[in-house]
């Protein structure tokens, strides 16, 4: 079992506190959803976790190693990262984008060793992209492109998948498709951390929900414990009635009124 941990991380940018003393762990075989309003520090915390930004205080560790001091390729073999913005500079083929998931193994789209090619084919299959593999990215729908990026992460064979708003601007069905892929990744032994905005979606697919506000983590636990009406209001400034389906993981969030103002 491996563990990715943020220990008391603080990030300041231009005097503003973006992340304040945040601690969080993601273990293999679990899916964690990171929730919070815009500007809560979710992306910065995630980027600090994978060493893309240096925290002003605290540590981000993968097992016992500081992620920031790991070589980029060594880190990429353990953690796959899907950033929030996924701009394609060139309309490459879907399969070539998935093949980039093997970059840390010395592969490139035009040079795949047999084990790289096998990993790419597996990932394409797992994400239901077999038919679309030869298509150019600019001919794919938003949902299809999102699945290509998840497949790219899966192809890396990494233990951890960190996805920053993987379902942004997708319709409900595509959101569930992508979340099912992430859930499946965790069920097969991976550790997933996803930034989400839909609390009900998070409750359905995540083992744990971490709530952030103003750079601080205000709740961390199983959906039923972390996602209470009080915490929800504290995080988002919205009064809501939250009901869970008995024995299941479905959650209904009925917004009553705007509390904060």
């Amino acid at each position: 079992m491996a563990e990715l941990a943020a220990n008391n991380i603080s990030v300041h940018i231009d005097g503003a506190t973006i992340v304040a003393d945040a601690s969080l762990t993601v273990a293999t075989s679990e899916a964690v959803a990171l929730l919070g309003p815009n500007g809560a520090g979710k992306t910065s915390l995630m980027r600090a976790l994978i060493g893309q930004i240096a925290p002003d205080a605290g540590h981000a560790r993968l097992d016992d190693e500081e992620t920031r001091s790991m070589r980029p390729e060594a880190l990429a073999r353990r953690i796959a990262y899907l950033p929030q913005r996924r701009p394609m500079a060139w309309p490459m083929r879907a399969r070539d984008v998935v093949a980039l998931g093997r970059f840390a193994y010395g592969a490139s789209p035009s040079r795949l060793a047999p084990e790289d090619a096998a990993a790419v084919d597996d990932a394409l299959g797992a994400c239901g992209l077999g038919e679309l593999a030869a298509r150019r990215m600019d001919t794919l729908s938003g949902g299809e492109a999102a699945r290509v990026h998840v497949a790219r992460a899966l192809a890396s064979g990494a233990d951890f998948l960190l996805a920053d708003e993987p379902v942004a601007s997708l319709d409900p069905l595509r959101q569930h498709e992508v979340m099912a892929l992430i859930r499946d990744f965790a069920d097969r032994g991976g550790g997933a951390l996803a930034v989400l905005h839909d609390a009900a979606l998070a409750a359905r697919y995540a083992d744990r929900i971490v709530l952030m506000r103003d750079g601080r983590i205000i709740a961390d636990g199983p959906p039923r414990e972390a996602l209470t009406a009080a915490r929800f209001e504290e995080a988002y400034g919205l009064r809501a009635e939250i009901t869970f389906t008995p024995g299941g993981n479905g959650a209904a969030i009925r917004v009553l009124d705007v509390a904060g103002g």
Partner: protein
Amino acid sequence: MKATAPGISRIAAPIAAPQDARLNLSLAGIGIALIFAACLLGSTPLSPVRVFAGLFGAGAEADQVIVQTIRLPRALAAYAVGAALGASGAALQGLFRNPLAEPGILGVSATASLFAATAIYFGVADAFAAMTPLAAVAGALLATGFLSLAAVRTRSVTTLILVGVGISAFAGAIMALLLNLAPHPFSLADLVNWSLGSVANRSLDDMALAGPFMAAGLVILFASGRGLSALALGEEAARGLGLDVARQRLAIVAGAGLAAGGSVALAGAVGFVGIVAPHLVRARVDHDPQRTLLPAALIGGAILVAADIAIRLAPTASELRLGVAAALIGAPAFVLIALERRSPDG
């Protein structure tokens, strides 16, 4: 979900798909044919048979001298310059994720021309013939060196491009100042030569001076191609894929600087090849930046040899400059390609 163990039983896979091999072989073939065609042109009429014999050290001695020391060096110079600019353009576009980037936009060509022109202006070039090309390469390296410092400092590609535009404008301003103050028409013509670009009267000695810089640049660029493909996903994702983005940026800026600096040393500033060449081949290599490098170099070389043939066939009173011809062909082609990009599948 366990990671595949790295480094075991990696069977060497072919670098490019078969279609790439076909494309690159055809482009290389076209290049060779054009170089041969260029050797047919000159003030002494020579038949293709005599040119062919002359190229391979057979036939009359006079034919050999004409073909090997006058015509071939000129054609090879055009090809080398085109190849260096084509590959530099493809690499810079991959790095900046922008199809309009090229050595010109970074100010590398402008700085290199300025240094060459300065060497001529102050008469250093008269004292020591090799000074002009050395100055050009020094200028290019200064520009790339400055850019690499800026690249480490700023993580933003847009900022880097703007720095390049600034360098370009400044070099252009000083060049204009030199032209303005040129004491007599002779030096003015020399300065114009460096601004417009030409491969007329290039010798194998000129090639030997500039060649190593271009070769070193091309080696660096081809070795860094893999990272360019990763950058297609954006810098943040590329970093997540395991790419050392700062080092990649440095490699491309240095490689493109050496290649473009060497090309300016040989031919002066020749524009548009670096933009047009990659555009022409990109769709044929599935828009993969790594696979674009080689065919962009090959087609860039072919384009400049063809342009150099065209200016010698053109019925103009004085021979057109290669840079002018390249712009005349390249600019409209560039506009057409830019417009094509608006089509639904472009």
